[in-house]
Symmetry: C2
Subunit: 152 residues, 2 copies
DNA sequence: TTAATTTTGTAACCAAGGCTACATTTGCGT
DNA sequence: ACGCAAATGTAGCCTTGGTTACAAAATTAA
């Protein structure tokens, strides 16, 4: 098969590059990823602080299902990003920004779970799927979920 | 603050490790990731083959919004995983397994988009969110979406 | 107080998914 | 048939997120 579908030299320079629309979707989806970890961690930290009084590395590791090494390195990044405050051998605390992020996430998580549940999905599955889905729910979609929930 | 919440030595050996339930959710969510790329690629390859007659590395790169180098390396992995057949400097073809995966994904994608759209979400947002959400929709949840759609 | 256990930290490795820079192959057009 | 641009491949680097193995600090218990 010859290569003859792209007019390599005849493409008008006006449109430098067909942005392919779809590429943008993928790009956003990839960028979301960067935030997912931060969101999961601050949420877990808030949870642990609420239930245990403080959040330690081991607890976080158990909660996230990874080793303490991974937690450690991730916390370093979250610290750089301004979401947590840590001191060696001490408990982990959320910054103001961290608290805010945690609150948003918790609210969104609850909404997504409730929404899925309202569709007749089992609690177990709703919880499971929400964990992955919530990070990709835009404000518009979240609003639609809430609207549905209010309609009983 | 002392560390006094975990009964380090008094934990009964019967339950070796409290699995923390939530850790499992995260674990699955992480495993899903491994499949997302494969799904996006086979879907794109199927698309390109359908619209252009064949799928080339450049097309794929444009579609995915990455460089051809990334595409190349990813294709090598997909080949190892048995989803595609490639030969140097030749077009990319899906294997039987690849086709099957692509079909499943296309169907699921369509369902998710239609479902979101049915909630009053704009087409643009539905498409955007679906890109991230679809990979985390379990069969049970997908079934619930379809049920809803049928109910008009 | 001292010893043992847990917790935390650090070093070093791996795979995935990005990238740039450079080399090679293809195939189109003159 | 030959040259040049586009497509493809390769080398090497970065970050993220995971690991194991080992070292140091902190807490608990004797």
């Amino acid at each position: 098969m010859p290569r003859s579908r792209k007019q390599p030299l005849t493409t008008p320079p006006a449109e430098v590059r067909p942005p392919a629309q779809q590429a943008e979707n993928f790009r956003r989806s990839r960028c979301d990823r960067a935030l997912e970890v931060a969101q999961d961690y601050v949420e877990a930290i808030a949870d642990l602080t609420a239930t245990l009084g403080e959040a330690r590395v081991v607890d976080l590791a158990r909660q996230m299902g990874v080793t303490h090494v991974t937690v450690n390195r991730t916390l370093a990044r979250l610290k750089r990003a301004g979401f947590v405050n840590t001191k060696p051998y001490r408990a982990i605390f959320l910054t103001r920004a961290g608290h805010q992020l945690a609150d948003e996430c918790r609210q969104r998580h609850k909404t997504v779970v409730a929404f899925l549940h309202s569709l007749g999905i089992s609690e177990r599955t709703a919880e499971l799927d929400a964990e992955g889905i919530e990070h990709h729910v835009s404000p518009e979609t979240l609003a639609a979920f809430e609207r549905r929930l209010k309609q009983h």
